[in-house]
Amino acid sequence: MSVIYILWLRELRRYVRSRAQLVASLGQPLLYLVALGFGMGPVFRKAGEGSYIQFIAPGVIAMTVLFSSVFSGIGLLWDRQFGFLKETLVAPVPRIQIMFGRTLGAATVAVIQGLLVLVISFIAGFRIVNLKAAPLALVFMLLIAGLFAALGTTIGSVLQNMQGFQLIMNFLVMPIFFLSGALYPLNNLPKLFAMVTSIDPLAYGVDALRTILIGVTHFGLVWDAAVLLVIGGMLLLIGSHFFSKIQA
């Protein structure tokens, strides 16, 4: 238990200490909110869909959680390169605890980032429709974060070096974001495209946040929770498997 705690604490300490990174990582969501939120707003309104800022704020929060958690998971690669990974690998601790502590830490950091973006979107004019349900949004942010932190750890365990990183970025993380419906509604999409979006786990995360925060739903909250839990659990298992196979 204390092993998980100290690794969780380590992720948090590192997050708090790298202030430049903290600020830098908020730049992208801010850009999406402002440039797209205000830029696409008039078109969106004309199409009869209401306020675009209201619509994309949950999507941008989900995006922040996605990027932050995947990157923290991939932070494993940095540990490998700076050597710290070896210290954890020779320790008399079950690997699953190490994997769990890291993932939990990465997820916590991602949720904090998500909350910061929520605050920023308030400033940009976003409003939660049902304040009483807001704590539930936190639960879903944690689910999204856990799922993608586990994915990141899996990737970090399998990749040997940073060369593969761009590949993962362009062919996995970016598609997960763009196909999730974070930026557009999933209704009335071409059939094939709709099928692709429905296998994107983030689509369920975005949908859940949207359901809770602005009361617009596509899959339904129960279905969202089920998909996130099952896929998150599976990734955690797969991640621990690959993590336990790492040889120095």
Binding site: R13, R14, G83
Partner: protein, 263 residues
């Protein structure tokens, strides 16, 4: 304390460690010498549960690292060839994390961390982030950390690489002191022959994955009828220079240098 019998490690067709056998006694300081790529680090990795041997038998304090990896891990401390500290954390936090990993009870952990940090003259800098430390300080911290859980064996894989003579000297004085006071068995590799000559009771020379000589520094000099350990080493391993192919870790490091402002 350490028993190696017929140990072999192959990477594909390449035989990194070729059927080696040796015993290291409890309380001994044992040096493992050899040119680059001789298989020293690979052997240490197998002894410390980081790599699976292809064949052969291993025993650490009577336990097989493959079957009882957790028990074996508790029994040794290791200082790797490359640094393995977390630069974003302070010296104290690095020690604390290690203590928790090795289940050192809280009270003992606190006193022992202070004792070791004072011994290695790092106590004043305990709350500074490790990335601000000099190479010598990092090495000292790694050794202090490796000793935190009072291991029976201390593995030192080229611990003095890139250190100035003062720091090297001080480091070996500490190691010898700990060997005498705590009875730690020390298994070390180094490229500096004078260090091995000075600290180690017995020396094994490894080349192309095989042990080519084993004995005290005196034995090796007599065997090769040379005057110094360095000459004995060259007489046994020849004077061709060995090339190591860049490992994936090295490639990663090169890449990271481009991104070094990330940290």
């Amino acid at each position: 304390m350490i028993r190696i019998n017929g140990l072999t490690k192959k990477f594909g067709d390449f035989v990194a460690v070729d059927n080696i056998s040796l015993d290291v006694h409890a309380g001994e300081i044992f040096a493992f010498l050899g040119p680059n790529g001789a298989g020293k680090t690979t052997t240490i990795k197998m002894l410390t549960t980081l790599l699976e041997p292809t064949s052969g038998a291993l025993e650490i304090d009577g336990l097989d690292p493959r079957k009882h990896s957790s028990e074996v891990r508790k029994r040794f401390g290791i200082v790797f060839q490359d640094p393995s500290l977390d630069g974003d954390m302070t010296a104290y936090e690095n020690m604390e994390l290690h203590g928790i990993f090795y289940h050192v009870p809280r009270k003992l952990r606190v006193t022992r961390i202070e004792q070791l940090l004072r011994l290695f003259e790092l106590w004043e800098r305990r709350n500074a982030q490790v990335k601000t430390f000099s190479g010598g300080m990092k090495r000292r911290l790694e050794i202090a950390r490796g000793l935190l859980h009072t291991p029976k064996i201390l593995f030192l894989d080229e611990p003095t690489l890139g250190l100035d003579p003062q720091t090297r000297n001080q480091l070996w004085t500490h190691v010898k002191h700990l060997n005498q006071t705590e009875g730690v068995t020390v298994f070390l590799t180094t490229h500096y022959m004078d260090e091995a000559d000075r600290v180690a009771q017995r020396i094994a020379i490894m080349d192309h994955g095989r042990i080519v000589a084993l004995g005290s520094a005196e034995d090796l000099k007599i065997k090769t009828s040379t005057a110094s350990l360095e000459e004995a080493f060259l007489a046994l391993t020849g004077s061709t220079i060995r090339d190591e192919s860049a490992s994936s870790t090295q490639q990663l490091k090169d890449f990271a240098r481009l991104w070094s402002n990330r940290r």
